[in-house]
């Protein structure tokens, strides 16, 4: 018999036992649904984590700290056995020089701690308190208006939060771009609570307006300026003070194209603690993977259970069609043909189950906006992401599983003695 004829006959037999076929495939579809959904949620979770990471840090950026004792030994150390920086948890210019020399480090920027007295648009405008922060990394920031080349702020420019616009008297985000903002800087007093000794105005041009986003984990409204301007302000505010040129954190940029992990290791080897975004990303992905495969595992269990359903159904089908099998054999059908007929039927059931399960799983992606809303994720986030290839592989896999489940019933059919099968008494 030709494969085409067997496939058609198998399909026809299934149509004649609609309820049974449907029920058996529904059992499989439960598994297919669960697996598809788990994989979709995993894919969505990874994509979401990816965007989360991108908006919260720069994977080429390494945060370097003074060596933190891993705490395996809490006994006191002998005096003089530790480096000065390690003892104080502080990095100085010497450390910066040392890190700068490490192969693969493109540039190094300390995290300057600076502050602004107030901001204003100039004479005649109101003055406002503001945070002042320096953008040293190249993390992408969600913008309401304007552009940032390479996610860097050019010297003399500032990025203004959307929430500041109204107070500063801008009509909208686009209106603000290109305008100037004056930031008043004070040199703080050496005495706590004392009056400042000196002050000056710095004028910045608005390069862009940033906006809040659910994917930015710790958003703080602040005027953001370039590292160059930040350094100048830092030096102005700390000149001649103890503790100047000492930092808790310095940011090392890895040369693009270099292996971030390797550079991280060489900085560690030089005696520093290093944190990279990849560490976080890896931990998150691992977590997502565990959850995803855990959920998929339940789906596979459901599929396993449905296998017995297929076997049972196929056995009943063989019993019911004893006479048909006998006739086919009398007419010269080979064992192989009869076996195939039943295996293809099982394959059809597997296909149907996979298709139904996938259909309903994909249909749940209509809930994506609702899921995003109820989990207060960024609008437009699709937590369930389906890949057609995954579904195709799953359905093919289910067909294969069904065929294997149909092996014994098909063998029984193939072995049936036509004389016995056609005995009517």
């Amino acid at each position: 018999m030709k494969v085409r004829d067997i496939v058609i006959r198998a399909g026809r037999s299934l149509r004649q036992a609609k309820a049974r076929t449907l029920l058996t495939s529904l059992a499989i579809s439960v598994g297919a649904f669960t697996v598809t959904l788990a994989l979709a949620a995993g894919a969505g979770g990874q994509a979401y984590t990816d965007s989360l990471i991108k908006n919260n840090g720069d994977s080429n950026n390494l945060s370097v700290f003074a060596k933190i004792d891993e705490g395996q030994n809490d006994k006191p150390k002998e005096y003089g056995s530790q480096s000065e920086s390690a003892k104080q948890g502080i990095l100085n210019d010497k450390d910066i020089e040392k890190i700068q020399k490490i192969d693969g480090v493109a540039e190094i920027t300390p995290e300057y701690n600076i502050s602004a007295a107030y901001m204003t648009r100039g004479d005649g405008y109101k003055k406002y308190d503001t945070n002042l922060s320096i953008k040293t990394d190249r993390t992408a920031i969600p913008l309401a208006a304007g552009t940032l080349k390479d996610n860097q702020i050019p010297a003399g420019s500032v990025v203004v939060p959307e929430d500041y616009l109204e107070s500063l008297g801008f009509a909208n985000a686009t209106d603000a771009v290109g305008k100037t903002i004056v930031v008043h800087i004070e040199k703080p007093s050496m005495i706590v609570g004392g009056k400042s000794t000196d002050s000056k105005d710095e004028t910045f041009t608005v390069a862009a307006v940033d906006k809040k986003s659910a994917t930015v984990l710790r958003y703080q409204a602040a005027l953001r300026i370039s590292p160059e301007d930040g350094k100048a302000i830092y030096e102005y505010q700390t000149a001649g003070r103890p503790g100047s040129n000492e930092y808790y954190t310095v940011n090392a940029r890895v040369e693009s194209g270099k292996d971030v992990k390797a550079v991280q290791e060489s900085i560690k080897a030089a005696g520093y603690s290093v944190f990279s975004l990849q560490d976080l990303q890896q931990a998150l992905f691992q977590f997502i993977n565990i959850v995803q495969w855990g959920a998929a595992g339940f789906g596979f269990l459901a599929i396993l259970a449905s296998i017995f359903g297929i076997i049972n159904t196929q056995y009943i089908s063989v019993l019911e069609r004893t006479q048909q099998i006998g006739l086919m054999k009398a007419l010269g059908a080979r064992r192989k043909d009869v076996g195939r007929l039943f295996r293809y039927e099982a394959a059809w059931v597997g296909f149907l189950g996979g298709a139904i399960g996938t259909f309903f799983a994909v249909a749940t992606s209509l809930l994506n906006p609702w899921i995003a809303k109820s989990l207060s994720l960024e609008k437009g986030t699709d937590l369930l992401q389906f890949h057609p290839l995954t579904s195709v592989i799953l359905i093919l896999g289910l067909m294969l599983v069904a065929v294997m489940a149909g092996y014994f019933p098909a063998r029984k059919a193939a072995k049936l003695d036509p004389i016995e099968a056609l005995r009517t008494e």
Binding site: M1, K2, K329, L331, G332, A333, R334, P418, I419, T424
Partner: protein, 227 residues
């Protein structure tokens, strides 16, 4: 030409053995119509199964056109049956859920006849039994006589050389039985196809060229044979 030589078939084991066929020998010329007569349990059905290769007697030869089919491999016998033989059963064995067209299509599919050649053959066979207008009707909606005519269409669709009919009129009233008999004999005469009817009906047997009487697995008598 079918030659049956010293065929013996035993059922059961050890003390409970039962000889269904005991050293049976005869010859059937090509194109003849033959009745195998006997009571229920006489071994006539076993003889038909043996001649068609469905059953394998432990002794003897069944030579069809010079070939001993008992020496063929299962696969070869299957192919032989699908191309050379056909069956008609007392209980029709038409597929109730399928329409007439698909019922008749089955032997062609089994024989691997190309799709393009099937329609013509199927329609010719349905035409021969006057069921062409029922082509799309489901077999379960047919009357008993129509079902047996459908079975005949299925049996002749692939132009067999030998047609086995196991009590073909056993489940039919005399009027429809006559129609079926006429169809079978007409096919036998017009096409030169060997027709072997297994029956216990002496009236039907008389219409055949040759009668083989079987009793307790042995040939009682053969009448009508050209010697």
């Amino acid at each position: 030409m079918i030659e049956v030589k010293h065929v013996t078939k035993t059922y059961g084991k050890k003390q409970n053995t039962f000889k269904a066929l005991d050293d049976v020998s005869f010859e059937i010329p090509k194109g003849a119509s033959v009745a195998i007569l006997g009571k229920s349990g006489s071994g006539k059905s076993t003889l038909m199964h043996a001649m068609s290769g469905l059953d394998r007697p432990e002794k003897g030869e069944i030579v069809i056109d010079g070939k001993d089919i008992l020496k063929l491999k299962t696969k070869q016998i299957d192919a032989f049956r699908s191309h050379q033989m056909s069956f008609i059963f007392q209980s029709f064995f038409v597929q109730a859920n399928e329409n007439c067209y698909d019922n008749v299509s089955l032997p062609l599919e089994i024989a691997g006849v190309p799709v393009g050649q099937r329609r013509r053959k199927i329609e010719a066979a349905l035409q021969a039994v006057e069921l062409l207008d029922k082509k799309k009707s489901r077999a379960r909606d047919l009357s008993g006589g129509q079902k047996q005519r459908l079975a005949i269409a299925r049996a002749i669709v692939n132009d067999p050389q030998i047609l086995f009919a196991d009590e073909p009129t056993g489940n039919l009233d005399s009027v429809t039985g006559n129609v079926v008999e006429k169809l079978l004999f007409a096919y036998n005469k017009n096409r030169g196809v060997t027709l072997i009817i297994v029956t216990h009906d002496p009236d039907l047997a008389k219409k055949c060229d040759m009668q083989i009487h079987i009793k307790d697995g042995k040939i009682e008598s053969i009448t009508g044979a050209k010697s």
